[in-house]
Amino acid sequence: MNAMTTQQAEPTATKPAPDPKRPSRNVDIWSLLMEGRAFIALILLVIVFASLSDSFLTMNNLITMTKHVAYNAILAIGMLFVILKGGIDLSVGSTVGLSGVVAGTLLQGWQLELFDIVAFPQVWVVVIASLAVGTLVGAVNGVLVTRFNVAPFIATLGMLYVARGAALLISNGTTYPRLAGSEELGNQGFLLIGGGRILGIPTAIWIMVVFALIAVFVLRKTPFGRWVYATGGNERAAELSGVPVKKVKMRVYIISGFCAATTGLIISSELTSAAPQLGETFELNAIAAVVIGGAALTGGRGNVRGVLIGAFVIGFLSDGLVLLGVSTFWQITIKGAVIILAVMLDQAQQRIKRSKNAALAAADRQSSRQAPQADN
C-alpha cells in the first residue's frame, strides 16, 4: 500500500508519546485478504486462464496482453490524479481519438492553404503537437471546473463530445491509413512509438512503466502530490491550510489530458492508421481500473500500484476470455460484474477500517479523561 494512504496504526520506535492503553489489534486474516484483494484476484485470473488454455502463459501472449494493458493503464494513471482530487474525466476516450487524428493529419501532409503549400513536419513536431492538443483539452476541462464551477462530470462529458467532434471535423470522418511517413519527406519513425521494441519489449509497455514511476514519485514525494490527496480528502480543510486548491484542480485535468494524448499516439502508431472513432468508451475502462485498484470516487484515497493491478485485471480478463473463445456478450457481462464486486468489497473494507478507527478513538477519549491534567 502506498505510504500516503496508509491507515494502519503501526507502532513506531520514534513515537512521540508512549500510549500505554492501545487496544491490542487482532491482525485477522480477513482484513489482510481484503487489503490485497485486487492482487489476489489477478493471481486467480492467471491461474484459471493458465489451466484452461495452454497458450495463455506463453511469453508472446503475456507480452501482447501487457501491451493491451498498457493502453488502458496510461489513461488510468491520468484518471487516478483526477479521481484522487475528487473529480472525474470522461473526455479521455475522445482525446485519444483527437490526438491520433492530429498526428495523422500532420503526417499525411498539413494543408496550409494560405501559403498554398503542404507541410510535412518531422515526427518530433507531430508528437509534440498531438500531446499539446490533448493537454489543451485537459486545460479546458480544468478551466471549466475551476473558473466556471461546472461540475467535473458535466464539464468532461461536454468535452467528450467536443473533442470527438473536433476529431471528426479534422479528419472529415475518414481514417488516415498510412502513418509510416516517407524517406524523401524525412518524417519516418512514427510507427516506432507503438510498434517498436526495446530489449524485446514493446515501447508501449516501457512508456507505461515510465509513466507509473513518475506518477508514484509525484504523488508520494512532491507537495503537489500531497495536495492532490488533501484536496480530494477535504477541499475546505486543504484550502484553509494554504493548499492552492484551484491550481491543483487545473493540473490534474492537464495531466489526464496529456496521458490520453500519449495513449492516442501509441495506439495509432501501433495500428499504423488514425481513425477519428478511436478511443470510444476507453474512459470507462480507465475509470474501472482506478476503481478496481481501490481508489474512492469521492477522492483522497487510491494509489498507482492499485491502478496498475486494476488495469491488469481488466486487460487479462478480456484477453483471457477471448483466448478461451467466450462470446463478446459474456465478456462484457463478466467485466461489469467484476467492477461491481470490486466496489462492494471496497465498501466492506472501509467499514472494517471505520469501526476499527472508531474503537481507537473511543479508547483515546477514555484515556484522555483519566490522564492527569497537563501542566502549564
Binding site: 505510504a3 500516503m4 494512504t5 496508509t6 491507515q7 494502519q8 496504526a9 503501526e10 507502532p11 513506531t12 520514534t14 513515537k15 512521540p16 508519546a17 500510549d19 514519485f217 514525494k221 512532491t222 507537495p223 500531497r226 495536495w227 490527496y229 488533501a230 480530494g232 480528502g233 477535504n234 475546505r236 480543510a237 486543504a238 484550502e239 484553509l240 491550510s241 494554504g242 493548499v243 492552492p244 474512492a296 477522492g299 483522497g300 484515497r301 477500517k353 471505520r354 476499527k356 478507527n357 472508531a358 474503537a359 481507537l360 478513538a361 473511543a362 479508547a363 483515546d364 477519549r365 477514555q366 484515556s367 484522555s368 479523561r369 490522564a371 491534567q373 497537563a374 501542566d375 502549564n376
Partner: protein
C-alpha cells in the same frame, strides 16, 4: 398562568437509570428524568454535559446502553424516530433538517405524505393543513414556497411546524430559537403556552438562559453525564442555573498568563465584513481591535455575533469589504490564504471535521499539510525533514497517538483538535486565530488546549480566540472583547469582570434577570 390545565403536571414520560456509553466513554451515567404533561421542562448544561444524548434517546435516534423508558407508566422501546413518532414523541433538531429543494408543504409531510387512493399524494389537503399550521405560527407563507427561499428564521418555523403536524404529546425542542428574531421568539413562546394548555409536554433546551427561564416550568441541570439539580419555576434564577451548570470544572482552566506584551502583532481598523448567507447584511460592522505579541484576546459573544465571520475574513476565507488589517506591520491587500499563512497569520477553524482535518490522511500528513513547502528540497519533499518536523510538532502539542502514520479518525476529538493546532503552529505563525477551540471536546482535553494556548502566548504569539462560554472567556484571556451584532460592545479585563457582566454585555441576559432572584 392559565388554569385551563387539563392534566397538568402528571408524569407522561419517564427515563429510569439511563446510561449511554460510546466505546469506553460514558455520556450518561444513570439518569432519572421526568417529563410532565402541560408543562415546559427546561434542560441546562454545558456542551458535552449529556443533554443532547438524552434527547436523542428520548426521541429514538439512539438506544440507551441500559435503563428503561416509560410512557404513561408502561415500558416502551424506541428503536427509531418512527417508533418515537408513533408514540407521539417529536423532536425539533438543533441543526435544521429540512430539504432546501422541496417546498414548505413537502418538508412538513416528508415521510408521512397524505395519500389518496393509496397512490396519489393529496396535495390539496396538505396545502390546506400547511396553511393552517403556518397561520398558527403567524407566518404568511405559501405552502408551495421552496425552503431554500426562506430566511433562516422562517426555516426554523417550518421545522417547528413539522413537529406540530404530527400531533405530538411530547415535544422536544433543541435550541429552537437560535435562528429566530425577537419577534419570532415571542410567537414561539405564545405557541408553547397554547400547546401546554392543551396538555402537551415540552422539553426545552437552550443556551439562551434568560429565554429558557422565561418559558420554563421546571428546570433540570446536567453536568458530566449526570443530572445534578432540579428546580421549580419559582425557586430558580440564572445564578442557580449557572452555579449548577459549571460546578467544579470552571476552575480547571486558568493557566498562567503573562502581562507584559510586545509590539502590536495584529491590528484591525474599521473592518467590515458582509454576511456570507445574506450579503445585504453586515456580519462585522466597523470593528477596530489591536492584539499584541504575547497577549490572549478573547472574542466573546452569542451565536451570530459575527465572531466566526471576522476570523474567517482575517484568515482570507472571505473578503473584507472595508477597513484595514495589519499583520506584523504589513497591511493585508487581499492575499490568498496561503500567503497569509506565510505572513504569519493562521486560523484554527471552528468546525474541525469540515474545515480542520483531511479525514483520509494520516496524523502526520495532516500535521505537515500547512507547512509542506518548508520541507521541500528541489522538487520533492525531504522525507527526513518532514518526519522530524512532524514528530517534533505532534510532541509539541502532546498528541497521543501510536505514530504519525495512524489514521486521523482513530483519535479522539481532543487529540484531533491538538493536531489541527499543531498543524497551524508548524507554520510558525506570529498571530494565531482560534474559533471555538474547545468545541466538542471533553473537559480534560479542554484544559490541555488552553494550557497550550497560554504557552504559545508566553513564547510571544499573539492569540485571538472566539468562544461562547463565559468560563473560558474569563479563565484564559488577558482581555475579553464582547461582540454583539458585528460590533464590539464592551471590553473587560477578566479580573475586573464577572460572569454577569459578560452576559449582560452580550445580550444573553438582562440586568433585571440577574438581580431579581425570583422569577416572574
Amino acid at each position: 398562568m392559565s388554569d385551563a390545565a387539563i392534566e397538568r403536571d402528571a408524569v407522561v414520560m419517564r427515563a429510569r437509570q439511563i446510561t449511554k456509553t460510546y466505546g469506553a466513554t460514558r455520556a450518561l451515567k444513570g439518569v432519572d428524568f421526568e417529563i410532565r404533561s402541560g408543562a415546559v421542562t427546561a434542560l441546562f448544561g454545558e456542551n458535552g454535559a449529556g443533554k443532547s444524548t438524552l434527547m436523542k434517546i428520548l426521541s429514538g435516534v439512539e438506544t440507551p446502553t441500559s435503563g428503561i423508558l416509560e410512557l404513561d407508566g408502561r415500558e416502551i422501546q424506541l428503536a427509531s424516530t418512527v417508533d418515537a413518532a408513533e408514540h407521539g414523541i417529536a423532536i425539533i433538531h438543533q441543526e435544521l433538517s429540512l430539504c432546501p429543494n422541496l417546498s414548505i408543504r413537502d418538508n412538513i409531510y416528508m415521510g408521512r405524505e397524505l395519500v389518496r387512493g393509496g397512490i396519489v399524494v393529496d396535495e390539496r389537503t396538505e396545502n390546506v393543513r400547511t396553511r393552517e399550521l403556518m397561520a398558527r405560527l403567524e407566518e404568511q407563507l405559501d405552502p408551495r414556497t421552496l425552503v431554500a427561499d426562506l430566511r433562516l428564521g422562517q426555516q426554523q418555523v417550518v421545522e417547528i411546524a413539522r413537529a406540530l403536524a404530527g400531533d405530538a404529546r411530547v415535544l422536544i425542542m433543541d435550541e429552537p430559537t437560535s435562528a429566530l428574531s425577537g419577534n419570532e421568539v415571542e410567537v414561539l413562546f405564545r405557541l408553547i403556552r397554547e400547546l401546554t394548555d392543551s396538555g402537551v409536554a415540552i422539553v426545552y433546551i437552550s443556551h439562551h438562559l434568560e429565554e429558557a427561564l422565561e418559558i420554563a416550568d421546571h428546570a433540570v441541570v446536567f453536568r458530566d453525564g449526570e443530572l445534578v439539580a432540579t428546580g421549580e419555576r419559582d425557586a430558580i434564577d440564572i445564578a442557580w442555573v449557572i452555579s449548577n451548570m459549571v460546578g467544579r470544572s470552571a476552575d480547571d482552566l486558568s493557566p498562567d498568563l503573562r502581562d507584559d506584551f510586545g509590539e502590536i502583532a495584529l491590528s484591525l481598523r474599521n473592518v467590515t465584513v458582509a454576511d456570507p448567507s445574506n450579503p445585504t447584511r453586515l456580519a462585522v460592522d466597523d470593528l477596530s481591535l489591536d492584539v499584541r505579541a504575547g497577549e490572549i484576546v478573547c472574542l466573546y459573544g452569542l451565536m451570530g455575533a459575527g465572531r466566526t465571520e471576522l476570523l474567517e475574513a482575517l484568515a482570507g476565507r472571505a473578503p473584507i469589504q472595508r477597513g484595514t488589517v495589519t499583520v506584523g506591520g504589513r497591511e493585508l491587500r487581499g492575499e490568498s490564504i496561503a500567503d497569509r499563512i506565510r505572513m504569519g497569520l493562521a486560523l484554527v477553524p471552528e468546525d474541525r471535521q469540515r474545515d480542520g482535518l483531511v479525514q483520509t490522511m494520516s496524523v502526520g500528513e495532516n500535521s505537515s499539510l500547512a507547512s509542506l513547502s518548508a520541507y521541500v528540497l528541489g522538487f520533492w519533499i525531504g522525507d527526513r525533514r518532514e518526519r522530524d518536523a512532524v514528530e517534533k510538532g505532534i510532541a509539541d502539542v502532546r498528541v497521543k497517538t501510536s505514530g504519525p502514520s495512524a489514521s486521523i479518525t482513530s483519535l479522539s476529538g481532543g487529540n484531533q483538535q491538538k493536531v489541527v493546532i499543531g498543524k497551524v503552529l508548524m507554520t510558525e505563525p506570529d498571530v494565531i486565530l482560534l474559533d471555538e477551540p474547545s468545541r466538542g471536546i471533553d473537559v480534560g482535553a479542554k484544559g490541555e488546549i488552553f494550557a497550550l494556548m497560554a504557552r504559545e502566548a508566553r513564547r510571544g504569539l499573539a492569540v485571538l480566540f472566539a468562544t461562547s462560554e463565559v468560563s473560558e472567556a474569563l479563565g484564559v484571556s488577558n482581555r475579553v472583547v464582547v461582540m454583539s451584532k458585528g460590533r464590539i460592545v464592551r471590553q473587560f479585563e477578566p479580573k475586573n469582570a464577572t460572569r454577569e457582566d459578560l452576559m449582560i454585555a452580550s445580550g444573553e441576559a438582562t440586568e433585571e434577570e440577574l438581580t431579581g432572584s425570583a422569577h416572574r
